[in-house]
């Protein structure tokens, strides 16, 4: 069979090769599961540590100097308020940008520049957005350490993610549908409004919810633009002080003592449940409106 190897030698080599193949199959599989095991451990730890502190009082309570009395209510409401700013701002800007780039932009350098810019913006560390917010919204616009400053900073942070998701959704609308609309004398904007957007809205929504859930969990930029760690009331205006779930969790994590990590874990459970719900909604929308064209 082989002029250079004896039959036994060749067989030995083959067996060794098959053995190596087997070993690496196991290694690759093991490597893949390490991430999953880590995830399982993380969830297990958080659950076992936090469940003792998770109670109705914890959900309805405000921050407190003592672990038993601390609650995450202000954080939850603050996060909701933040999303109430981030969602409209980033959706309007993001979807508009996506429509422009997909439907209107001429194939020229300016369009390529905007596109490349969005790609790079998506790679900027979130904390740098915090610095932008600090200078621009907190100081120059003089919003101070307010809900508005935090919300606008977060809007800019998720903007590139929403643009990319919306672009993908818009691009997936088949050309034939647009042709049908143009063929009946519809204008470009009519076609976009009545054909392109309705067909791409499930995709846009799914991507946007995932982007917003990223905003819910984001901590660093909010620390920079001055979300408060201890606050005993709900924000009363756009320019009022506020906190958010991850900020509360961070403040508990960094406190000394045996008990505070357990409070933090309880906060993490609440945060993860919120994220899980948002992701479930996104998956539901995606499955329900799965592309039928």
């Amino acid at each position: 069979m082989n002029g250079f190897l004896s039959k036994e030698e060749w067989k030995k080599r083959l067996n060794r090769r098959l053995f190596i193949n087997r070993i690496f199959y196991i290694l690759f599989f093991a490597a893949t599961t390490i991430g999953l095991i880590f995830l399982a451990m993380l969830l297990y730890r958080v659950l076992t540590q936090g469940i003792g502190y998770l109670s109705w009082d914890f959900i309805k309570g405000f921050p407190a100097p003592y672990p038993e009395e601390a609650g995450i209510f202000a954080g939850m409401i603050g996060s909701v308020y933040l999303i109430a700013i981030v969602a409209p701002v980033s959706l309007v800007l993001g979807v508009s940008t996506a429509i422009y780039l997909e439907e209107y932009a001429p194939k020229n350098r300016i369009s390529r520049f905007i596109q490349g810019n969005i790609q790079n913006l998506a790679g900027v560390p979130s904390i740098v957005f915090g610095l932008l917010g600090l200078t621009f919204f907190v100081y120059i616009m003089d919003f101070g350490y307010s809900l508005l400053a935090g919300g606008l900073t977060m809007s800019l942070l998720v903007l590139p993610i929403i643009v990319v998701a919306a672009q993908e959704a818009i691009r997936s609308v088949p050309n034939e549908l647009k042709e049908a609309s143009y063929g009946m004398g519809a204008t470009k904007w009519q076609t976009i409004l009545r054909v392109v957007l309705p067909a791409s809205i499930p995709g846009i929504l799914t991507g946007s919810i995932l982007a917003l859930s990223r905003a819910i969990g984001e901590t660093a930029p909010l620390l920079i633009v001055g979300a408060a760690a201890a606050i005993y009331s709900l924000p009363d205006s756009l320019l009022g002080p506020y906190t958010a779930m991850p900020i509360q969790i961070y403040s508990w994590v960094s406190r000394p003592g045996e008990e505070w990590p357990l409070v933090a874990a309880a906060g993490i459970i609440v945060l993860l449940i919120v994220l899980l719900l948002m992701n479930a909604v996104a998956v539901f929308i995606r499955n329900k409106f799965q592309k039928r064209y």
Binding site: P106, K107, P174, E176, L177, E179, A180, S181, Y182, G183, M184, G185, A186, T187, Q190, R194, V195, P198, A199, R292, Y293
Partner: protein, 268 residues
Amino acid sequence: MDLSQVIHHENKNKPKEEKHVFEVSNLNLWYGDDQALYDINMNIPENQVTAIIGPSGCGKSTFLKTLNRMVEMVPSVKTSGNIKYKGTNIFDPKLSVEDLRTHVGMVFQKPNPFPKSIYDNIAYGPRIHGIKKKRDLDEIVEKSLRGAAIWDEVKDRLDENAYGLSGGQQQRLCIARCLAIEPDVILMDEPTSALDPISTLKVEELVQELKENYSIIIVTHNMQQAARVSDKTAFFLNGELVEFSDTNVLFSNPEDQRTEDYITGRFG
């Protein structure tokens, strides 16, 4: 400029017998640097079925899409020459493409209903042109669906999604959608190429009925279909109009050797 006004005016002054819906003269068309149509001259008659045949890549679809300027969806397209629709130059910058397409409707190769209800599909055209009253829309929907011979099949499920229909029904729905704005001309781009034989037959019968009221221009890769449905046939080859005459003349007694080669199946 208002196309309806112009047509109104033009029609009065023209003797009825020699009416042409399109007068194409010296039409050339390029995709970027590639020329796709060469010096087309052709008068397309009103209220008749005109078939356009030719091997794939001969420019027949391009030509069809030039008539309602859909070809300009490709950004690099350039044209020269002239196309008159009932006397009006369709390339006139004062005339909007939307206006032109309101009068010159189109049915596409693949059935392309919107992912909406059957009712909303038909009402789409009237709605974008500002017809909003429910009573008017109801009337238009019924008339259009009857006109496309699909009313009986769908009248009980107008609220259902159009994607639930079969391919042949979808294509007739698309024809009905096109009828809803009552255009004068219907362009059909290989409308049966994605359909089974029975659905094809239904669409062909429909074309025969529609020519009472509409001028129909149909591109087809199927010579038998052209022979069955059309009054006049044009044969395109390599971006040129080789021959254009009455369908029975073209198929029985073609003038050009190339036409004869094609219809006898020697190439294409």
